[in-house]
């Protein structure tokens, strides 16, 4: 297993680099964009990227059907993807970790309730319910984040529960009890710090999933509302033109794929480094 250790480090490093680049693009978007991502220019519609015939240095990645600069929209789209990813992980992490740790620590009736909640959550058709909520409440960035956060906590709960069960019986927890520590002290200061490396790996998986789901929802027209430059929405708006100009779906699609791949590679690398298990 150690033979390709350098290969592993390289792929984890690549993942970290991708995430870092997208993060920088997201944070400094207003400083980086060559054009206003919302400005339409009907005289410069569907300009191809610079490497294709007809493209020019003014629009490095071309323009869309309304003449908006594709590179600028892509950079602003990074903001939406990262925001969705991070906000969803925070919301779903809080819910899932709380439930999982409580179930794993107390066992018995508490655990029965937690198991029931996890089973119920898993049986709900994820995309359909997310679509229905966004469709009925109205589409906005906040609604998408809240919906995904309320739906994607199951893996956090499963992993937190299993790892808490393993930690609960260890000597240092017994020692803490014997030293007269309070229940909440043990949960917050002894249990959680010792399972957090498993949870970090789950966080990367969930972040990737949330970004993919937001793109899918926006693609179906029930995610982030236009004219926000969500990558999924860009693909959706461009798909009527893809037969003649395939690059209009390639640009946002590749961006999405590369970001999710980067997060997954980083997650795999963290798992190896921190010694966590994939599905605990």
């Amino acid at each position: 297993m150690r033979r390709f250790a350098s290969l592993r480090m390289a792929s984890a490093g690549l993942g970290a680099l991708i995430v870092l680049v997208v993060l920088i693009a997201a944070i400094f978007a207003p400083l980086l964009v060559p054009h206003d991502p919302f400005a339409q220019d009907l005289n410069a519609r569907m300009v191809p990227p610079v490497w294709m015939t007809g493209g020019g240095p003014d629009h490095l990645l071309g323009t869309d059907q309304l003449g908006r600069d594709y590179l600028s929209r892509l950079i602003y789209g990074a903001r939406i993807s990262m925001l969705i990813g991070v906000a969803t992980v925070i919301t779903s992490g809080l819910i899932g970790i709380t439930l999982g740790v409580l179930g794993g620590f107390f066992g018995g009736r508490v655990d029965d309730v937690v198991m029931f909640l996890i089973t119920a959550r898993l049986s709900i058709p994820l995309i359909l319910v997310a679509l229905a909520v966004v469709g009925l409440v109205g589409s906005s960035l906040t609604v998408v984040v809240m919906t995904l956060g309320l739906l994607l906590w199951d893996r956090f709960a499963v992993v937190a529960r299993t790892t808490t069960m393993q930690v609960r019986t260890l000597d240092y927890i017994a020692a803490a009890w014997a030293a007269g520590c309070s229940r909440s002290y043990i949960l917050l200061r002894e249990v959680i710090p010792n399972i957090v490396h498993h949870l970090v790996v789950v966080a990367t998986l969930e972040m990737a999933l949330a970004i993919l789901l937001e793109a899918a929802l926006s693609f179906l027209g029930l995610g982030v509302p236009p004219p926000l430059p969500s990558w999924g929405l860009m693909i959706s708006e461009a798909k009527d033109y893809m037969y003649f100009s395939p690059w209009v779906i390639m640009v946002p699609g590749v961006a999405l794929f590369v970001l999710v791949l980067g997060i997954n590679l980083l997650g795999d690398g963290l798992r190896d480094m921190l010694g966590a298990t994939r599905d605990a």
């Binding site: 033979r3 049986s123 359909l128 679509l131 229905a132 009925l136 027209g221």
Partner: protein, 305 residues
């Protein structure tokens, strides 16, 4: 075993009730249903009429109780859009989604199991790393985008397959491949880890010591044990695929159950939204129940706990 069965059935029943509540509550999220149904041009009078006609003037608990009672007897309500029973609409579209799900699962298994075995046999090798890389790449691929790329490549540029619709079997090829893509990574990982554990166990050492051929050891002894969780997970995966096919059905314009759900959400056809959510959830509950029972039947140790 009996106690296990009873516990498991009780859990499924409780989950079913929760799903009923959720699918009912979901359609009440928009606030006043009658206003949404009546549309923007409706007068106050129209809204009141609709409220009465659809029974929306009754208190919520009464509405919920009547929905649960009729759902239990198979009546999922009438579509506002098609003036047909929601159950009839689902039934008409089910064959498409089911075909898609089963083809997708079959492709996923045919790809994932051999690759998983191969990776396990050469654990730690470059081949193993390469196969696991496929899993990582597969996981990162947005399915709707992969669908569009395949449409452009095989439908448009090569002209081998139709770009959309389900006129004949060829319409199912691309969507099934895309659907399979989402299931391959987890099935492959599971096969690999099961095989790695199995190959390291004592009974394989015994089989080796007896001088059995490598093929016999891998296929007859190791795979039989490693396959158990894969078989069980396949049932769960099928559930995920049936409920996840909504994206792929809309990319390829396949009028299946998922497409029906998407269409009714965008057109405010609440009874159908409710019915599709409930239907897909019930299928998933039954498939996970099946998976658990399969697991228990195959592995006696699980029955005891």
């Amino acid at each position: 075993m009996l106690k296990f069965l009873a516990r498991r059935a009780l859990l499924a029943l409780l989950v079913m009730l929760t799903v009923l509540t959720i699918s009912f509550g979901l359609t009440r999220l928009s606030g006043d249903l009658a206003i949404s149904i009546a549309g923007p041009q409706a007068t106050q009078q129209d809204v009141e009429m609709i409220r009465k006609a659809y029974g929306l003037d009754r208190p919520l608990p009464v509405q919920f109780a009547s929905w649960v009672v009729s759902a239990a007897s198979g009546d999922l309500g009438r579509s506002y859009l098609y003036h047909e029973q929601a159950a009839t609409l689902i039934k008409a579209r089910l064959p498409i989604t089911l075909t898609l799900g089963l083809c997708g699962l079959a492709i996923a298994l045919v790809v994932a199991i051999p690759l998983g075995i191969l990776a396990a046999m050469r654990e730690g090798s470059l081949l193993d790393r390469a196969i696991m890389l496929i899993a990582v790449v597969g996981q990162a691929m947005p399915s709707f985008w992969l669908g569009l790329v395949l449409i452009i490549t095989f439908g448009l540029q090569l002209g081998w397959l139709p770009v959309s619709g389900n006129d004949d079997w060829r319409g199912y090829v691309l969507p099934s491949i895309v659907l399979a893509f989402s299931a391959i990574p987890s099935l492959m990982r599971l096969t690999r880890s099961g095989m790695v554990d199995a190959l390291a166990s004592d009974y394989i050492r015994t089989a080796r010591a007896k001088g059995l051929s490598r093929a016999a050891i891998v296929l007859k002894h190791a795979l039989r044990n490693a396959a158990m969780p894969v078989v069980a997970i396949s049932a769960v995966q099928l559930g995920f695929m049936l409920s996840g096919s909504i994206v792929i059905e809309s990319v390829f314009a396949l009028p299946g159950v998922g497409y029906l759900g998407w269409e009714s959400i965008s057109k405010n056809d609440f009874p159908v939204v409710q019915a599709v959510v409930l239907f897909l959830a019930v299928i998933f509950i039954l498939l996970t129940l099946l998976a658990d029972l399969l697991n228990a039947a195959l592995d006696p140790r699980l029955r005891a706990s």
